[in-house]
């Protein structure tokens, strides 16, 4: 069975934070996990590469981006949306 979007996103975030996937909680923000702004940009790059999608994210104003990065759960949800939109 292939990994779900959620598993893959968590694996990318965990790798960026140098943690085990089991250490990541869905309610945590990237800040909680210890990922800084450069780490965020690198994670988004890894997500784009993994799913072959375009993530609408502008590092100048992360809050105003359509892509919700407020928590791990939000990121997973946003990526699931992008993956679904790509398939349709």
């Amino acid at each position: 069975m292939t990994d779900s979007v959620k598993d893959k996103v968590i694996r990318i975030i965990a790798e960026q934070a140098m943690l085990e996937p089991s250490d990541i909680e869905m309610t945590q923000s990237l800040q909680d996990i210890g990922i800084d702004s450069l780490g965020l940009v690198e994670s988004i790059f890894a997500i784009e590469e993994e799913f072959d999608i375009q993530v609408p994210f502008n590092a100048n104003e992360p809050e105003a981006s359509e892509f919700d990065i407020s928590s791990v759960a939000a990121i997973v949800g946003a990526v699931e949306g992008l993956v679904a939109a790509q398939k349709s």
Binding site: L38, V41, E42, I44, F45, E48, E49
Partner: protein
Amino acid sequence: MKRVVITGAGTINALGQSVRETMEAMREGRCGIGPLDIRDVDRLTVQIGAQVKGYHEQDRFNRQQIALYDRFTQFALIAATEAISQAGLEFQGELSQRAGVVMGTSGGGLTTQDENYRAVYEEGKNRVHPFVIPKLMNNAAASHISMQFNLQGPSFTVATACASSNHAMGQAFAMIRSGMADAMVTGGTESMLCFGGVKAWEGLRVMSKEACRPFSATRNGMVQGEGAGMFVFEELEHAKARGAEILAEVIGFAMSSDAADIVMPSKKGAARAIAGALKDGRIDPGEVGYINAHGTGTAANDKTECAAVADVFGHHANDLMISSTKSMHGHLIGGTGAVELLACVMALRDGIIAPTIGYEEPDPECALDVVPNEAREAHVDVVLSNAFAFGGLNAVLALRRYAA
């Protein structure tokens, strides 16, 4: 004016991954040039170079660092770490604000550019890693050194092709001498041995396919190298107060511009830089015992350089020694003067003159004592290091043996 001394040295290049290994290779006249081991080498006409072998970035840096450090930055950090460790300086408090980095490089993160152009043009990718810019920028090496060692004073990168590191070290020297800084980390770094880097150089038709034989009648061009050389320049009283070991004193520096041709060197421009360094250091020409030549192994450079030395020194040109260590470590372009300054330090401190290896036949137009093939023991008090860049930008440093 303050006096400036060298209290630390570090390097990584084709001859060795430390100053000790490099000087040992220079003493033995070992050649670091060999077949290039890079991607698509079969599409290159020139397939030799002085590559840093047995180097694995994973052994030196962690994954996060590698994501940000191009090979030229890695080399610079390795050399700077060795130099600062030898100097024994800790940059804290006021010293950290009175200390900076002046780095010489020509190509900067050329390998990063090469890899990413390949990805978008050849492989048709539409997305590149987010750190491409901070990785390839020319000042990345200087910035990472300043971050790692807390150097908060004046820091920047100088790019004058083959003279970059001499220009950089000249700036560091001037800043300490004028009182602007107490200590400077300075030198040069280069990593152009990638497909695009070598391919671009092929275009000029100045590269040898066999060997670098400076001053030899049989020479047929330059050979590229890679690596870094870094030094700690320190104000003399500052170094003495903390009992630092002094490797040599930097006593003079001069720059000139040929203002003539974008690639062909000029005897007058080179001579003005050499004479300028003597004047700046109040050096009697007769005191100069050794010159580390620019000595690229091209017909244009070697003849012009020998003529310039003959012009400046007159009869004394026949008494001094002049060698090109590029025959061993290749031409490190923006990092070359820094690695070559190690030969100058070795001459002053250890009394060993590094040879010009690969020398086969005398050339009447280069009729100086080029220390052919074997190192020589000699006592010298003052040495020069020449660098004459494409674009006609020249920079010459003068060092003196330090006696307490």
